[in-house]
């Protein structure tokens, strides 16, 4: 980037606060691995040295939703599981993004049946629908890159009007 060279010459750079915040956000997306079925295996594979999700700053898969900002829903979501997925999503701090990984998550997939939710966008706001059954790890990385592009275009004021989530979580318990 030549950033170091510029710092050596002039000692400072100018930018907007929005750009700096978006830049730091997009390069450390911490995923919540919502691995529900076979797509989870490909999601795990994307963390291994061959595909290495760490190249994109997302190697910290957190198993607590409170430290995550990207939920990768990897697998078939049944009606019974939908409440759990939503509860975990509600516990993630804003701003947050969702990848619907695989055919089942995006549309119900081959499970056209009474017990499988025909697409998680019925109860979650989805940013990326990732095709494949299951998608390959490099496909997931592509989705991550697209999420990063999306995050890079955000501004701080985009998230100011959001109402605070979480109250209904407590009541459901």
């Amino acid at each position: 980037m030549g950033l170091e060279a510029r710092l050596k010459e002039e000692g400072f750079i100018t930018s907007t606060l929005d750009a700096v915040i978006a830049w730091s956000r997009e390069n450390s997306v911490w995923p919540m691995p919502m691995g529900i079925s076979c797509c989870a295996i490909e999601m795990m594979a994307s963390g291994d040295p061959k595909y290495d999700i760490a190249r994109f700053g997302s190697e910290v898969m957190r198993f607590t939703p409170r430290q995550c900002d990207l939920m990768i829903v990897a697998g078939t979501v049944t009606y019974k599981m939908a409440h759990v997925v939503r509860k975990i999503y509600d516990q993630m701090p804003d701003p947050k993004w969702v990848i619907a990984m695989g055919a089942c998550t995006s549309s119900g997939g081959m499970y056209r049946s009474y017990n499988v939710v025909q697409g998680i966008d019925q109860f979650l706001p989805v940013d990326i629908y990732l095709a494949g059954c299951p998608p390959r790890p490099d496909n997931l990385l592509n989705a991550l890159i697209q999420i990063q592009d999306k995050i890079g275009k955000t501004k701080a004021k985009d998230f100011q009007d959001k109402k605070l989530p979480g109250l209904n979580v407590l009541q459901n318990n």
């Binding site: 009474y114 939710v117 019925q122 109860f123 706001p125």
Partner: protein
């Protein structure tokens, strides 16, 4: 003696009052009988020293919607001693009040969850079951999905989803 001959002989000897029907299809023996003596027959098959069907592999049911005897409970049991599989088929009478059968959990503990699953999917009541709750569907669900009159895509609104804000 061949087990396929021994089982019918022993069962008829031990339970002369029960009407058995034996079917040998593609190398697997099935035994059909009515639901009244299911526990005694199962216990006999398990504990007889020449048979020893110690393993209850599956308990399930079949819904044959058109038939007069609509439901049939099916037990798959296995004798580790003889490496022999046996299928027990128990048709239930046609009236809804008769769609129940005695639980065999007192014979095989493994039948506990299998019977819960059958109850969940078909609505067949297992009498004296220690914990007859639904296995897969939510506890307040009102239908039994594997019945033939249940639509493939379910009853709209019967399974609530969380609200999308």
């Amino acid at each position: 003696m061949n087990l396929k001959e021994l089982i019918p002989q022993k069962l008829q000897e031990r339970f002369p009052q029960v009407k058995f029907e034996f079917v040998d299809y593609r190398g697997d023996l099935s035994v059909n009988f009515d639901k009244d003596h299911v526990i005694e027959i199962c216990r006999f098959l398990k504990e007889d020293s020449e048979l020893e069907f110690r393993l209850c592999e599956d308990v399930t049911a079949v819904d044959m919607a058109e038939r007069k005897k609509r439901f049939m409970v099916v037990y798959h049991i296995f004798s580790l001693k003889h490496n022999f599989r046996l299928r027990l088929k128990v048709p239930l009478p046609g009236e809804e009040s008769d769609w129940n059968i005695d639980s065999v959990t007192s014979v095989w503990k493994a039948a506990n969850w299998l019977e819960r699953e059958t109850y969940d999917m078909f609505g067949i009541i297992f009498n004296n079951h220690p914990d007859l709750r639904r296995m897969y569907m939510p506890e307040d669900f009102q239908y039994h999905p594997l019945r033939k009159d249940f639509p493939l895509m379910g009853i709209p609104g019967s399974l609530p989803l969380p609200k999308k804000d």
